[in-house]
Symmetry: C2
Subunit: 350 residues, 2 copies
């Protein structure tokens, strides 16, 4: 069965093969990522995005020289979830691929952690995928997030009060956390067309059912902010501009370029020494323009651990710094804080 | 009658006076604008925003040392519009202020120019206000745009495909075009509360009817993009985050800081020589990061005249430049274009 993979690209209908090559170009050229020799472990739900990405990566693996494997978490929130886990395992086995699956009672976890089910599911997935990363330093986690997800993400960040360039949305490549999102600039419509075209004209010897996908009812639950963005807000914006998703892709690109520029402008301001990283002397800030001071605060806070600083908090910190209001403490998400002191700003966590 | 103005701030209910002082702070501190000795001509429609701004500026004029005057254009689109023009004149006269009014048959202009009525109205207003600016170099045009307008503007720019920092919305201070927007970070709710509080407790000798405002039915016409943003999209975002307007204000501030940073980083790249401004030699671009090249294109294009370049067009130009695709022409709004040539990019208009 593994012999099929090298020829998969040739066996696909032409538009489906083109999509694979567009994704390859995105990975290698736009993201500048070389996956050769790495294990790419796909976070697989069985939905359209991860199902399509599975076949795209299967087609690209021999071209780019990576090993594909599959990870699936059974959230135990729906009756069908146990059989979906079995189907994920069978899919990987059918192509001789490694697979990592586990079952977490997310409802119980949600009650135990006093978190919503959406958030508890996220915690369970992150733990599961983190343990996989820990077990293999050559492993990268690959997510099926696509352009519609990115647009929803940008809107949620806008609503939440995120600054620039974070407003441009989730990263396509996160080297620090070994995360890759190859479909980030591919629209949901293109992904469904990809699967539909393969269903209509499957490679010889393959059944059309290989390209079915699961429509998780939780993706329609209007109790979740992301689903409200998807169902109510995004359609209105697409009505105003049918190319809205392309605009989002462009904005994401600009955010990446600006992120590089800010990193470049702040080079040398970044302390590798852990103790120094927790302090910003007033003197080091005084010769920076406000735009760069705000980004420097952000870098220091992000180095302390997870939790996106809100723009509002960063602006408040800078106002306190401008007035040298010693003793002012600004709180940030993720239990982080910054304190203006006599000669410096001190960052701390916990 | 003019004697009333100096004491207006003291005669107002306390929260209304506070709003005036907040606006003063915004003008002088956040925008860094000193209006002393200038004539501030308010673009007055009679709606809540310009009605409130009229009294706010009336209260601030003696404190900040500017002269207030009023401009009103009768669009002749509604039966009441002629009497609204008379009311605008009477308002200014009542306080001994200069006023400039005119009537344009916008429906006829719309037919003549083959433009929508919204766009034709905009053209008529711009011409009218431009002629007022031409007649007095000390005149600044003051608009009543407020924070809800800014949020709608940010959303429209997002939908349209605008890059950063233009995505942060319209300017509060435009020195080149002598435009000021003192209410830009004041919410519509605060403005209506201001007028309501004055209606409830008017300064001695003033009638409550002085604080009535006109609700223009055109502001509810769902044929206009801005009105759809206002009626359909903004409420959904406010539902997700009741502080969404504050987030927009913060984003606007960040965009202003970033605008200053980009201008600073590009200083020296800006040619004052008109011929040189139309050309960017490849050599001058080669040592710039992509983020700055994109902003340099934008500056050159904006110097050519009105029309906001879309991010998409800027990215396309840079891709063509990166590949040195001589002969590639990229079109921009406002009949502007850029052409990649053998040794340079050439910008032109018309």
């Amino acid at each position: 069965m593994t012999k099929k993979a090298p020829s998969l690209l040739q066996a696909m209908p032409q538009p489906a093969a083109k999509l694979c090559l567009d994704v390859e170009k995105f990975i290698t050229q736009e993201l500048g990522f070389d996956p050769a020799g790495k294990e790419l472990t796909l976070a697989f739900s069985g939905g359209a995005d991860s199902k399509a990405l599975f076949y795209i990566l299967l087609a690209l693996a021999p071209r780019l020289g990576f090993t594909l494997s599959l990870a699936h978490l059974d959230h135990a929130l729906r009756a069908e979830s146990a059989s979906e886990l079995k189907a994920a395992e069978a899919l990987a086995q059918g192509f001789g691929l490694a697979h990592y699956t586990t079952r977490v009672d997310v409802a119980a976890l949600s009650a135990g952690l006093k978190l919503g089910k959406e958030e508890a599911g996220r915690v369970a997935r992150l733990q599961f995928l983190q343990s996989l990363k820990n077990s293999n330093p050559q492993r990268w986690i690959v997510y099926g997030h696509q352009l519609n997800d990115l647009a929803e993400d940008v809107l949620m960040r806008l609503v939440r009060g995120t600054g620039w360039p974070s407003l441009g949305g989730m990263q396509g490549l996160d080297e620090k956390h070994r995360v890759l999102r190859p479909l980030l600039l591919t629209s949901r419509a293109d992904i469904e067309n990809f699967l539909d075209s393969l269903k209509t004209a499957p490679p010889q010897g393959w059944g059309a059912e290989k390209f079915n996908w699961i429509d998780d009812p939780l993706n329609h639950d209007q109790a979740f902010l992301r689903n409200r963005m998807r169902a109510k807000i995004l359609p209105l914006l697409l009505e105003e501009n049918p190319s809205f998703l392309e605009s989002i892709a462009d904005l994401w690109r600009l955010a990446a370029f600006d992120g590089e520029l800010f990193a470049h402008l702040l080079k040398g301001k970044n302390k590798t020494d852990a103790a120094a990283a927790l302090s910003l002397p007033h003197a080091a800030l005084a010769d920076l323009p406000k735009a760069l001071r705000l980004r420097l605060y952000k870098e220091r806070l992000e180095a302390l651990g997870p939790g996106q600083p809100l723009l509002r908090n960063l602006l408040n910190l800078d106002r306190a710094w401008e007035k040298r209001k010693s003793g002012t403490v600004i709180q940030f998400p993720g239990h982080k804080s910054a304190r203006v002191e006599r000669g410096e700003i001190k960052f701390s966590k916990g």
